[in-house]
Amino acid sequence: MKNERPDLKIIGNNSASGGRYDNAKVIGNGLITGDLDCATFKGVGDSRLQGNLKAGTAKITGSLHVDGKAEIGDMRVTGDLDLDGDFHARHCHLRGRFTTKAGVRADDLSLMGHITVKKNCEAESFNGEGQIRIDGLLNADRIEIKTYGPSRISEIGGDSIDIGKGSAASFGKIIKVLFVPSNWGNAMLTVNSIEGDDIRLSSTRARVVRGNNVVIESGCEIDLVEYTGSLRVNHGSTVKEKKKI
């Protein structure tokens, strides 16, 4: 079965039509027209796909723009991933910039850099560092966010939620080159509502926080906290209203 699929290779400044391939590789500046379905995709340089991408594994060094949606098993990106449609992946490890005009559904997301999602972002585990903007709901079992720059998420829901400001020392070298966080000072995360079982927040501005065990560390501005178990508020934060339910 595997041998029936040919390999695709684009080297230099070139284009090819999509289709079903075993290994697809772009080195240089490649344009693929039509849907691409392949076992592995490897892009070094700038790749653009006019269609939908389906790949067992994908590794991008440089940039990839997909006009449609992408469905990928394991994905590794160093650089820029830009999608017009939905992004589905089992694992995605990205260092650089991630943008999608639609939604994200994944098992395991580890994104570092500049993250923009226009619709909902769903994962079992979400690990985001950098400047994050999600216009829909971020829904994951485990959510860990470190902000480096002003971030905004419409809603957050999950089991354990841990949000804070990143420290300069832990910020990756690659990201320093790709994206200079000049606005560290106001690296706050602004959220409408946060709902979860165990919540720990710092440097977060939120209208409502609802949870079981809630810990508010320094630098938070929260309008209302509703909790069923315990609440601890650090004196460096303001909580306008607390309600035990």
Partner: protein, 212 residues
């Protein structure tokens, strides 16, 4: 309308589930997106659910989650047809579909040895309406034809199937749900079924009978 809705807070309080569970079930598509109703309240935006639907769904998930994985549950609860083919004998012996319904089906589609899930679903819808006495055999044929010709366009979406009568003539409508439709006063709704909940029932019945 207000009484039919339940706020998220009240729901968690009543059912004893946690935010983590609710969001997990939403992610696994155990709770359909359209049940999350956003409304403005004096504390800002809040989420509400259709009370009866969400309470019975959560009860069902709580009862079944010890025996099945969340993914299996999602398959059972999803409005997508299951991937099964069942032979005529198995279906007959399971007793899920009555002989009357099968006879009407055979008249239209010819005698088949095996039934796909979609055919069984059509049979099931027909059978339910026949058994309840809401529609006649001839109306059943119209129903089957309508389902046969148009169901693929609504697959995976929630829809209602409605049989109406006016001045002795009957007709059948497939409409995507949730939707409100209104008829003129002479029109009588003979029977109405929600397809997604029927799929759920059918999947449960097939599972109980040890098939599918």
């Amino acid at each position: 309308m207000e009484n039919d809705l339940i706020s998220k807070k009240e729901l968690l309080d009543l059912t004893g589930i946690s935010y983590g569970q609710l969001y997990r079930w939403k992610r696994k598509l155990l709770i359909p997106e359209e049940w999350f109703i956003r409304k403005s309240t004096f504390t800002g935006q809040e989420t509400f659910f259709p009370r009866d639907k969400i309470l019975s769904r959560i009860e069902k998930i709580k009862n079944m989650k010890d025996d099945a994985s969340l993914d299996e549950l999602a398959d059972m609860l999803s409005p997508n047809p299951a991937d099964v083919n069942i032979s005529r004998e198995t279906l007959k012996s399971s007793g899920i579909i009555s002989g009357a319904a099968t006879a009407i089906f055979d008249e239209l589609a010819g005698e088949q040895d095996t039934f796909s899930f979609t055919s069984i679903l059509h049979l099931y819808l027909l059978d339910k309406l026949l058994q309840s006495g809401e529609i006649s055999g001839d109306e059943g044929k119209v129903l089957l034809k309508t389902l046969d010709e148009n169901f693929s366009g609504l697959e995976g979406k929630n829809c209602d199937v409605i049989v109406i009568r006016k001045l002795g003539a009957s007709s059948c409508i497939l409409v995507s749900a949730p939707n409100q439709i209104f008829f003129d006063t002479n029109t009588k709704v003979a029977g109405r079924l929600n397809v997604a909940s029927s799929i759920e029932e059918l999947k449960a019945k097939l599972a109980n009978a040890g098939i599918g």
